[in-house]
């Protein structure tokens, strides 16, 4: 029977299948960070259980870590205790940890691919909804809760009920200056925050095939914002070239065997439960105006009128969003002024994202009264940026060059918005208060973030005079 890629990977990982029960799936890679596992380790301790496969488990510190003065003790005692708890648990249970200060430290979804631990055909889980990022490699990767973290630590398996399949086919070509972030924001606006519920999304089509691995990760990362269980893209030569010679990629004959398997993963001519087709050539820079990632519009447009929404729930949500965001219907999006620009996160904190923003900022300055934070996704990304001189571009423009971590994406560390402050952010969630109590977030691409920093209001590179617009990245 013809199967989708997700179904093939699922079938390959069934440890046990029994009538009337969820399938028991084997998990190839379990990523941990400090926030969602302390209670899981506690559970193991209480039950006298061990970590079954420490060799398939890896931990890092990212959510609570400060992005300045990292050599000093962490000021917030509660954050400090959470990090110390992770260190203690990893030492006690024999789990590999990359703590703050380590060269491999960084946002969990940046370091997995960077180390070559994320590979096609694998099942990958983490107590973090943005685990969908790893689907960019043709892996079945999904976020789990703390009880499931404990379950995977103890058994290296998870009982999973079946999912439905959705294809998002992106035809044509992205116009110059339109990025993966614009694409995924447009997809979420189209299908809604609950549109992918119960589904695994496979992104495919010519516009997807042309994307780099970094851009594919941006797309898959935000699948959860459409409510999907996971997002994935079939592995191809781009994937193999990214993986080759990474520290944990297979070597020699193993590499050949692995690539042979990876080539079989692509979906057959199978039927998806749902299919959405997007014409890439119609897309343009996209930003959010509301308080969920589905509330977005082309940057060239205006804040919508809630009265224009047919569905009463959508209308009520739009009214509440405009009130929270301090916006009025009909206001052109380009006229929205910001206080802060955040470049970073598991969505857009990789080297290509920093390069794209630096290309805009080179020879320009961050507008007066605007603060711009640049937070690389990992120490390795930071080192690469320094090697290319990007850090100098950012600091010369007046942006703050920070240490790696999740930072202002969710403000668990001191990087937060003040009440009423407005940000253009390359992160993934514009929820009320997400970036700081009372803070207002507009989700944007790295290019839009950098241009917004320069002009002080939401803008894309096309709004700058003499900016060479390059093909979509």
């Amino acid at each position: 029977m013809a199967r989708t890629m997700a179904e093939k990977i699922w079938d390959d990982h069934v440890v046990r299948r029994a009538e009337g029960e969820p399938d028991l799936l084997f998990i190839d890679l379990h990523l941990l960070h400090e926030v969602t596992c302390p209670q899981a380790f506690d559970g193991l301790r209480k039950a006298g259980r061990r970590v079954r496969r420490t060799d398939l488990t890896i931990a890092t510190e990212d959510h609570n870590t400060p992005t300045i003065d990292i050599d000093k003790p962490i000021a917030d005692p509660v954050s400090r205790i959470q990090l110390e708890t992770l260190r203690k648990n990893c030492a006690e249970f024999g789990v590999r940890l990359h703590p703050l200060g380590d060269i491999e430290q960084g946002v969990v979804h940046v370091i997995g691919p960077q180390l070559g631990l994320t590979q096609p055909g694998m099942t990958v889980v983490c107590g973090d909804s943005h685990t969908s990022t790893h689907g960019a490699f043709g892996a079945l990767a999904f976020g789990i809760g703390t009880s499931q973290v404990e379950h995977v630590l103890a058994t290296q398996t998870l009982p999973m009920s079946p999912f439905r399949t959705m294809a998002v086919t992106v035809e044509g070509e992205l116009p110059p200056g339109v990025t993966a972030k614009d694409l995924i924001l447009a997809v979420i606006a189209r299908i809604g925050t609950g549109g992918g519920q119960g589904h695994v999304i496979e992104y495919r089509g010519p516009a997807i095939e042309k994307l780099s691995m970094e851009a594919r990760m941006t797309v898959c990362n935000m699948s959860i914002e459409a409510g999907a269980r996971a997002g994935m893209i079939a592995p191809d030569e781009t994937t193999f070239a990214y993986l080759k010679d990474r520290p944990h990629a297979p070597k020699g004959a193993d590499w050949d065997a692995a690539v042979a398997e990876w080539r079989t993963l692509r979906s057959d001519d199978a039927t998806f439960d749902r299919e959405v087709v997007i014409d890439a050539s119609t897309l343009s820079p996209f930003v959010t105006w509301g308080t969920n990632p589905g509330q977005g519009a082309p940057l060239s447009g205006s804040v919508p009128d809630p009265a224009a929404f047919a569905d009463p729930a959508d209308r009520m949500a739009a009214e509440k969003a405009l009130e929270y965001m301090g916006l009025t219907a009909g206001q052109p999006l380009r006229e929205i002024a910001v206080d802060t620009v955040f470049l970073g996160s598991c969505t857009n904190g990789r080297i290509e994202d920093l390069r794209a923003a630096a290309a805009v900022l080179r020879g320009r300055s961050v507008a007066d009264g605007v603060r711009m934070l640049v937070v690389p996704g990992s120490v390795r990304v930071a080192l690469q940026a320094v090697e290319e001189g990007l850090d100098k571009v950012f600091t010369a423009a007046g942006a703050e060059w920070r240490h790696a971590g999740c930072s202002m994406c969710l403000g668990m560390n001191p990087d937060q918005l003040a009440p009423g402050e407005r940000a253009a952010s390359t992160s993934n969630r514009n929820f009320e208060g997400r970036q700081g109590k009372g803070g207002r977030t507009h989700l944007v691409s790295p290019q839009v973030a950098a241009t917004t920093a320069v002009l002080g209001h939401l803008a894309s590179p096309a709004d700058l005079s003499e900016f060479p617009v390059t093909a979509g990245a």
Binding site: D28, D55, T155, K320, G433
Partner: protein, 197 residues
């Protein structure tokens, strides 16, 4: 896990869709390393508004939350489930739940019930008009009952059984340890390991 069979209680009608887990429990609460003590963080930002429904004196002691569609979207934080339970909620009713939130609820014995939008509207109207109105959420009969309202709901048999029995998933899985070991023996040798062999 605490078993769930049937529960009757008063309602907090929450007329909002897309209630994300950042609203249910904001990130600064996630620094705690325990499963309890999250009740004061529940809907932290909204509770600052004295008019917020949870703050109404008549809603104190209510145990059933009735919310709009796409409840529990966003972050995978299980703390959202703990916060609802710590506060005293036993069940949440919504037209649609985010997958991870629903899974987390099941693991902790918080029942999530999906009912059509129009039934949710009727429950809102009933309980807004009369805060003392009680709703029964019956997992045995898969039915929600309130004055003038009887609504059947779907839940898959296995999930229902685990909730009714209050079963520990890890113990259930470890009964199949041999299957896990057999699978491990046949995994492709080139799959990555985080530690040296």
């Amino acid at each position: 896990m605490e078993a769930f069979t049937t529960h009757t209680g008063r309602v907090v009608p929450l007329r909002r869709s897309n209630v994300d887990t950042d609203q249910i429990i904001p990130a600064h609460w996630l620094k705690k390393v325990t499963r309890d003590g999250f009740e004061d963080g529940l809907f932290d930002a909204w509770r600052k508004d004295p008019e917020f429904v949870l703050n109404e004196p008549a809603r104190q002691g209510a145990t059933v939350l009735v919310a709009g569609a796409d409840f529990g979207t966003g972050s995978s934080r299980e703390h959202a489930v703990w916060a609802l339970q710590n506060y005293g909620f036993k069940a949440v009713i919504s037209p649609r739940f985010a997958d991870i939130f629903r899974g987390n609820s099941l693991k902790n014995g918080l029942l999530t019930v999906m009912l059509p939008q129009e039934t949710v509207e009727r429950l809102w109207e009933l309980t807004e008009a009369d805060p003392t109105a009680e709703v029964t959420v019956d997992l045995v009969d898969r039915q929600v009952r309130a004055e003038g309202i009887t609504a059947d709901f779907d839940i898959d048999d296995n999930a229902r059984w685990r909730l009714l029995e209050g079963l520990d998933d890890i113990s259930l899985t470890l009964e199949h340890e041999t299957d896990i070991a057999e699978y491990e023996a046949r995994r492709p040798p080139y799959r990555p390991r985080t530690l040296p062999r």
